[in-house]
């Protein structure tokens, strides 16, 4: 029962590349507006979205997590859904759209694994569940149009 080989994906440059593609394609009409950012000390009102890569024969899944301030999560949701600047972002839209970002980022990272794995549906909450033995294997802070998003990869033990 071996862990998923995260060599190719536990790499901030690789994660940045995937994030750039995701934002460029789905949000910014092909233009790359995502750059390496600076992770904040903490988030005041965090929103977290995550998906897990799992294999039947391995207890050690890999979690892709996207975290941001609620206000920034709203900004990216508005952009993704082509909403008006002052249109309120409902809970359903937030969960669905912010979750979808984690889904596409995680899905693309999953394609880089040497072996096929399944992807769970995205979950969105303020904080992810604490299982006690997770281990962060990569963290990539991003800057997009002035907003900060932190993508992190975790081994779930």
């Amino acid at each position: 029962m071996s862990a998923l080989d995260t060599t190719l994906i536990a790499d901030p440059a690789q994660i940045l590349g995937v994030a750039q593609d995701v934002f460029a394609a789905l949000i910014d009409d092909g233009e790359v507006l995502v750059h390496e950012g600076v992770a904040p000390e903490s988030f005041d009102v965090p929103v977290t979205a995550w998906v897990d890569m799992l294999r039947a024969d391995s207890p050690h899944g890999v979690r892709t997590m996207v975290r941001a301030e609620e206000a920034d999560a709203h900004l990216v949701v508005r952009a993704l859904l082509r909403m008006e600047p002052d249109e309120p972002v409902g809970e359903e839209d937030l969960v669905d759209a912010f979750g979808e970002i984690a889904n596409v980022v995680g899905g693309n990272l999953k394609s880089l694994l040497p072996e096929h794995a399944e992807l769970t549906l995205p979950t969105v909450a303020a904080e992810p569940p604490v299982l006690g033995r997770e281990m962060m294997v990569a963290q990539t802070p991003l800057e997009w149009r002035g907003s900060c998003f932190v993508i992190s990869l975790w081994m779930l033990v």
Binding site: A25, L26, G30, D93, D96, E100, N103, V104, S111, L119
Partner: protein, 127 residues
């Protein structure tokens, strides 16, 4: 021309539908493979299905297989629109009967390009 967009993410359905409508399509949506089969049963004139792979109840690959079993749906173009980007996955989808494959994330232009090569742009521009 009518298209069926199948994805369990409302966000992704909105994105794909919006591009298709912009190109002149009438769009119906479904949240999983079973809903999609029901929609095909109930609607006439669907020429294109944009299909996500990973969905609850019935996934995209199963949907493709089931559509290809029905003679009356033989002329419907089936295009996967999914994050599944491994070479082997694409082979599986094409082997199951999908005609085309668009990897997420995709730009609106990329979707348009696929439709052009399939001959499925409602108004092929005369240039």
């Amino acid at each position: 021309m009518k298209a069926l967009v199948i994805d369990d993410s409302r966000t992704m359905r909105r994105i794909v539908s919006s591009v298709l409508r912009g190109l002149g399509y009438e769009v119906i949506e479904a949240g999983d493979g079973q809903e999609a089969l029901d929609a095909l049963q109930a609607s006439d004139g669907v020429v294109l299905c944009c299909i996500d792979w990973n969905m609850p109840v019935m996934d995209g690959l199963t949907f493709v297989t089931k559509v290809r079993e029905r003679a009356e749906w033989r002329d419907i173009t089936l295009m996967m629109v999914t994050t599944e980007g491994e070479h082997g996955q694409i082979v599986r989808a094409l082997a199951a009967g999908a005609h085309e494959y668009l990897i997420k994330p995709f730009t609106p232009d990329a979707l348009r390009d696929k439709l052009e090569l399939l001959g499925l742009l409602p108004v092929q521009e005369v240039r």
